[in-house]
Structures are given as structure tokens and as C-alpha cells.
Amino acid sequence: MIPAVTILLVCQLIGETLARGLALPVPGPVLGMALLLAGCLAVPRIAQIVMPTAQGILAHLSLLFVPAGVGVISHLDILGGSGPALFVVLLASTALALVAGVLTFVGVAWLIGNKSDTAQSEPRP
């Protein structure tokens, strides 16, 4: 586990340094993700080392958003008088973006004859 965490942190550190040093519009951790992917492609052993820890963290990805979520609950007043209107905007816009994105994906995949091999398993209701 310690080697895995070290690899994750080193990638993030390099990512943050690059993002700030070169003033890139991408956050450091996203660059770190690209870096780790490149690392795994170059040396598959890295993926083996990081895999169990990464899966453990990602299985509980939701947990990591709780502190920021509590911040929103505690500062609901910053939405001000436009709170309800903002909620309508977020709801409608997120639904539209989901529909537009998924239909485009499915449509283009169909056009180029690209089939998903995961499509069969519709989950529990």
C-alpha cells in the first residue's frame, strides 16, 4: 500500500508542479492522472502495484466530496435570493448536458458501427 500511495502522490506532485510552473489550464491532479497512465503503459508493473489501492480509494470516491458538500450546506446563504432560480438552472442544464452527451455518444458509436461489449448487463431496477 505504501508504494502505491507514494506513486500516486509523486504523480500528483509532478502534476501540480507542471500545472503551476507552465500556468496550464488543467489542475495538477488531472495531469498526474495522465502521467500515471503513461507510466502504466510504459511499465505495466506500475499498474499492478497501484491497482488494489486505487480500487480501494475509487470505491469510496463519494466520501471525498463530503467535506466540500458540508461547506455548501453551511453556506447556503451565499446563493442569496436567487437560490431557487439557481437550482432550476442547475437541474435543467445538467439534465440537458446528460441527454446531449449520451445521445451523441450512442449516435456516433452507431454511425461508425462501434458496439459496446458491456451493454448486455442492465442492472437491478
Binding site: A54, G71, S74, G80, L90, S93, G101
Partner: protein
Amino acid sequence: MTPVDLPDIWSYLSREPLLWLTATLAAYLVGDQLSQRAGRNPLVNPVLVAMLLLGGLLWVTGTPYSTYFEGAQFVHFMLGPATVALAIPLYANRAQIKSALLPMIAALVVGSVTAIVSALWIAQALGIDGAVWLSLAPKSTTAPVAIGIAEQLGGLPTLTAALVILTGIIGAVIVTPLMRLMRIRDWRARGFAVGVAAHGIGTARAFQVNQSAGAFAGIGMGLNALLTALIAPYIVSLFLY
């Protein structure tokens, strides 16, 4: 032996990170348990349950958010390494991802532009303007990028952070019913769309439902952070002139 003084214990606990770190994990476990019992019903979102529980607890105990965050920051810090860790599902699903490059690029552009334009347009129609209106533009991207974009546009960073979190929760709650309504069975498409529209919280939901969906959500989130940073200022300027 001196009697133990309850206020003394409280003043110790409320100063140390231990209490709120523990409370954060416990609240999440409660949320996750409820979510599992509800058969991962999207309405019982673990983040939503945990934040309501903790928000109520802070309110009842009169604890300021800054005190809470002293403890919760250790959990919050893990967001960075977790983002890096998204490389692992990308790597594991690389063959599938390579074969779906074209649908991904198309869905990224359409999803990202729709997220920005529809937010700005609907807000304008509802009479929202000024700095609040500008803060809506990057709402679908991951928080650190969204805050950077909002600052650049003249929006309000704190409001942006709140809008980003709310967008993530809304996306995570509505994605499953919406996709079922549309009869979309392609996990790649479902995951990718929720990553683009609802960043990390949407990605967390995708991982709950399907590993493939999670992997595609992770790429959707990463690519949309980049694209929104590039196009949001341009789209905003189109609205203004």
C-alpha cells in the same frame, strides 16, 4: 481524583481534528449503508446523506465550518490522489477506450457546450445576471478548474464552488432515472456523459453502478476540465456581445 468536566472534554474535542474527521467517516458510512439498503437508489446518495447529517450536527452544536474543516481536511486532501488513481481504470479499460475515441470526442464537445450554453441561457431567461451569472459557466467541471475559470471570468469563486457541488449531486441523482427513461444501455455512454456533466460526484455514482461506466466517467471529467477552461471564456463573450 478530580471529576471529569463535560465542557472540558468538549472544548478539547472541538479543538482537535479527531472529532470531525471521525464524524465525517461515520456520516459517510451511514450514508453508504442507507444507499446499499435502498438498492443504490439514486435518490439516497451517500454524499447527500452525509452532508445533511453533518450540516445538521454543525448547526446543532454551533460549530463553525472552519472548525469542522480542520478535521475533514484529511478526507478532502485525498481528492487529489483519487484523481490520479483514475488512471488505473483508464489503463484497465484502455482497449475499450481506444475503440471508442470518436464517440467520446463528439460527446465531449456536445456535452460540454450544452452544459455551458444551457446554464447561461436559462439563467439569463430567469433574470440572473452579473457575477452570479458568470459563476454558472464552469459549473460542470471539477471544482479546482471551475474556481479558476470563474475568477478569470469575473465570477464569485465561493459561489462557483457551491454551484459545482450542487451540479455534481444533481447529476448523480438524476443520471440513472434519466438513462433508464431513454433506454440507454451502453455503460460507456452513460458513464462518459455523467463525467462530462457532473464531474467527480457523477463519476463516484458511475463507479457505484458499473466499473466500465466509472472508467469512462473519469475520462469525461478530465477532458471536460480541459475543454471548459478553453471554451467557457469564448462562449461567455458570445453571450455578452
